[in-house]
């Protein structure tokens, strides 16, 4: 009868010190899963616990993390976005088109590529909110379109950024001099912070929760749900663009075919982070933790030299256990 069992009050968003404390306690508990996993690997392998490996893990979280942050908004609003993977590839290609083919300077080309992601999101938003196409289909269609366009626009060849000096610094450079800490990670942290604040404190964020919680009630409360939905998708699209920039800056090239499959990983990070696919609930911190859980597991299993066919088996089981124990702890709260 758990379907109707009384649940401990779960907090969707800010307000109140006691509330905030309770909220962050839950986040901490989700964080605990991560710590346990990391602790395990630290004991299991002498190579896991090192500064170099930690930055490697963080670096490997950047792309999925960025995509997952944008998707968190969409999912909290009750939607889904399957176009983020190939959309990212398309944005990477657009970045190449802007910087290499059109020769725009960095300060113009990079924001343009990010905005192009916003455009992808905008189209998704229009399809979902105005044409009322279910998000799954609307973004699936966009996934196919973006996949194709990335190939068309790049002529199915990678675009190299050798002629755009400084571009790769966006991901691989070290802003903090002397410390080996890739810029991409800094970017991820900064946008996560911004996204977190917007989600909790801005009107956009509040309506994201409201729409996901009860779209009809939100509309009847006099809120222009269509407009806000479009805004949410477009905003989330910016992260597609950013991910496109970050991945192409890391690889030094825009790879038109690299993107498919990232959507599932990003959505998985969001969901493991406690955001509900039925909308109305979730957080950016959770999403980051979800993304980290995946990368730590991937990294740790490889470091331990587990045969790769077993890695997926273990990964699957650990995700199950982590989510399960997390649920149990939340209930006990």
């Amino acid at each position: 009868m758990a379907a109707v069992k009384t649940q401990a009050p779960e907090r969707a968003q800010g307000g109140g010190i006691a509330g905030a404390l309770k909220g962050s306690l839950q986040q901490l508990l989700a964080f605990a899963s991560l710590i346990v996993i990391a602790a395990f690997f630290s004991f299991a392998s002498p190579y896991f616990f090192s500064y170099g490996n930690f930055t490697a893990i963080l670096f490997s979280t950047v792309v999925i993390g960025t995509l997952a942050i944008g998707t968190t908004f969409v999912i909290i609003a009750g939607g889904i976005d399957l176009s983020i993977g190939t959309g990212m590839a398309l944005c990477a290609v657009m970045s190449g088109v802007f910087l290499v083919k059109l020769g725009l300077p960095l300060w113009l080309g990079v924001p343009a590529a990010v905005l192009f992601g916003g455009l992808i999101g905008l189209v998704n938003g229009i399809n979902v909110a105005l044409l009322k196409i279910p998000p799954f289909i609307a973004t699936l269609a966009m996934m196919l379109v973006a996949e194709g366009l990335a190939l068309v626009l790049s002529d199915s060849t990678p675009i190299y950024f050798t002629e755009a000096p400084g571009y790769t610094e966006i991901s691989t450079g070290n802003l903090i001099p002397g410390v080996n800490f890739p810029n991409a990670v800094l970017v991820l942290l900064v946008v996560a912070l911004i996204a977190g604040v917007l989600l909790r404190k801005s009107v956009l964020g509040r309506y994201t929760y409201s729409i996901g919680s009860n779209e009809e009630a939100t509309a009847l409360s006099g809120i222009d749900v269509r407009r806000w939905k479009i805004a949410i998708y477009a905003f989330a699209g910016l992260f597609i663009g950013l991910a496109g920039v970050l991945i192409s800056a890391r690889l030094g090239s825009a790879q038109p075919a690299t993107g498919m499959g990232y959507e599932l990983q990003a959505i998985a990070a969001v969901v493991i982070g406690g955001t509900s696919l039925s909308g109305g609930k979730g957080s950016i911190v959770g999403t980051l933790i979800g993304a980290l859980i995946i990368s730590v597991l991937n990294n740790g299993l490889q470091i331990m030299s587990i045969p790769q066919e077993w890695q997926n088996v273990i990964l699957g089981c650990v995700i199950l256990v982590a989510v399960y124990t997390d649920r149990i702890r939340k209930k006990e709260l």
Partner: protein, 520 residues
């Protein structure tokens, strides 16, 4: 008043029951005794613990401590199915229907007639349901999809479903909140036929006059504790209310007549919708409370929804302060200062997973609680807190999730949302649904204050006393038409019922009385 009070042995007994939720002690040392052959009313303020107690009896929650006896034998219902097997059937305060299934499929869910082990016998299912509905005298189509029925009809499905179990104990948690007088009468007739020497009914309601009509005894609870049980025959309404709220309630007087002197704020002219409405015309004046009366399905809700753009209008004009306006969706309406409180709080009113503050602040968020695109939670909190105070919303904190509030308190939250929004025109559809007597008076007072400030209110209600008590004028509807607009001094039970039951489409005399041509 039914007369079957000769049987006195207890059918159902509850003793020393405690139940707590996180942060809330819902019941403490609760007692209850239902005798065989009686209707026992259970009353108490919103959040007193009535529904919680019933959920313990029907196996949804388990008690922390306490004793339950049915027919002298102790029991503890572990699941809804278990409760049904014991002979306890419940109609919940909130619907528990499966919207995509038909009436018949809902009524016999879990007990479908089968052909073999696996296949369903749909024909027999429909036949059985038809028979049941006929026996109960409920005019429902067994094949209708439940999600498309009106709230009132959904309530009827719930009732049919509960009775189809042929229970010993029937629990009804505010079964009449969505019903109007005629339907209430039907329901009471059903209850009288159901109560036999070996069965009993627990009847929860906030409508005192109903309790006097149907119940034999009434048990009053307050703040989760047992207060007293009275014989309805000898107790007065005032007595019961006093026990319930623990203070005196002052039921105010009727408002004074028309306000012909005031400006027309909202003009509705010749409104038609594909679904129902025909040539609906009326106007709303500044500072006026305009009551909307009618039977189930008369189209009052539809007027409200059409007015705010929630449903599409086929023809007709809406003028605001004399200027025609186009309202395509509720957001347009809100921009024009028109707000709509839905009759169905769960579907159209609440963000169930969000907290009380978020719900109250939702409508006014951008107008009042935002600076530079960011929400000022302190302001939102303060406003929410003040409404929690004035409306006596019983909640452990502003951070309580809406779905954990009692039904009446949820309704208050929705009302608070609209009061906070500060609209010029408010369309309130069944605003006091499920709200206790005390709080009702407070809401009435608030509405009167709003009207005094010059706001205009459309109040759709199925409770005639409420319509009569509050309205400056009363619009009576039947079959999608406005059959009459009555001034406060003309409005009384009889005239309203007369105009509410005109059937111009079927009865030429009625059509003639309304001066409309019908048919071909």
């Amino acid at each position: 008043m039914t007369g079957v009070t000769t049987m006195t042995e207890p059918l159902l007994e509850v003793e020393g029951v405690d139940k707590s939720f996180p942060g809330v002690r819902a019941l403490h040392d609760m007692r209850l005794e239902l005798r065989a052959g009686e209707v026992l009313a259970l009353v108490g303020e919103n959040g007193a613990g009535k529904s919680t107690l019933m959920k313990l009896l029907s196996g949804i929650h388990t008690a922390d401590t306490g004793m339950f006896r049915l027919g002298g034998e102790s029991f503890e219902a572990t699941s809804p199915r278990h409760a049904q097997e014991l002979g306890i059937s419940i109609i919940h305060q909130e619907f528990n229907l499966v919207p995509h299934l038909t009436v018949a499929q809902n009524v016999f869910i879990g007990r479908e007639p089968r052909r073999g082990r696996l296949l369903l016998d749909e024909r027999r299912l429909n036949a059985d349901t038809t028979r049941l509905l006929e026996r109960l005298g409920l005019p429902l189509d067994p094949r209708a999809v439940v999600g498309e029925l009106t709230v009132a009809n959904q309530q009827m499905v719930e009732i049919a479903k509960a009775l189809s179990y042929e229970p010993r104990v029937l629990i009804m948690d505010e079964p009449t909140a969505a019903l109007n007088d005629a339907e209430v009468a039907t329901l009471h007739e059903l209850i009288r036929r159901f109560v036999l020497p070996h069965t009993g009914v627990i009847y929860i309601s906030h409508r005192m006059e109903e309790i006097k009509r149907i119940a034999d005894r009434v048990t009053v609870i307050r703040d989760g504790e047992y207060i007293d049980t009275l014989d309805v025959a000898s107790a007065t309404t005032a007595e019961i209310i006093a026990l319930m709220v623990g203070r005196a309630i002052d039921t105010g007087a009727r408002p004074q007549g028309v306000r012909a002197d005031r400006d027309v704020v909202l003009g509705i002219d010749g409104l038609n919708t594909k679904a129902l409405l025909k040539n609906v015309t009326f106007d709303l004046r500044e500072g006026e409370i305009l009551g909307f009366a009618g039977l189930m399905g008369a189209g009052r809700t539809e007027v409200g929804r059409a007015l705010v753009g929630a449903d599409r209008i086929d023809s007709g004009t809406i003028t605001l302060h004399g200027k025609p306006v186009r309202i395509g969706n509720p957001a347009d309406a809100a921009r024009h200062g028109i707000g709509y409180l839905s009759e169905d709080r769960k579907r159209f009113g609440l963000l169930l997973d969000q907290d009380v503050r978020a719900n109250i602040a939702l409508g006014a968020l951008r107008d009042q609680f935002t600076r530079g695109g960011f929400v000022r939670d302190r302001d939102a909190r303060a406003t929410a807190q003040s409404y929690v105070g004035t409306l006596r919303i019983k909640t452990p904190s502003l951070e309580q999730t809406a779905k954990h509030l009692s039904g009446g308190n949820q309704q208050k939250v929705v009302i608070a949302k609209w009061l906070a929004k500060n609209c010029d025109v408010l369309v309130f559809d069944e605003p006091t649904r499920g709200i206790d007597v005390g709080a009702k008076e407070e809401i009435y007072q608030l509405l009167n204050e709003l009207a005094a400030q010059g706001k205009s209110i459309i109040m759709i209600s199925s409770e005639l006393p409420e319509i009569l008590r509050m309205s400056h004028r009363v619009v009576v509807m039947s079959e999608g038409r406005v059959t009459r607009v009555l001034d406060a001094d003309e409005a009384n039970q009889e005239t309203i019922m007369h105009y509410a039951t005109l059937r111009p489409d079927e009865n030429p005399d009625d059509a003639a009385e309304l001066g409309i041509r019908t048919g071909s």
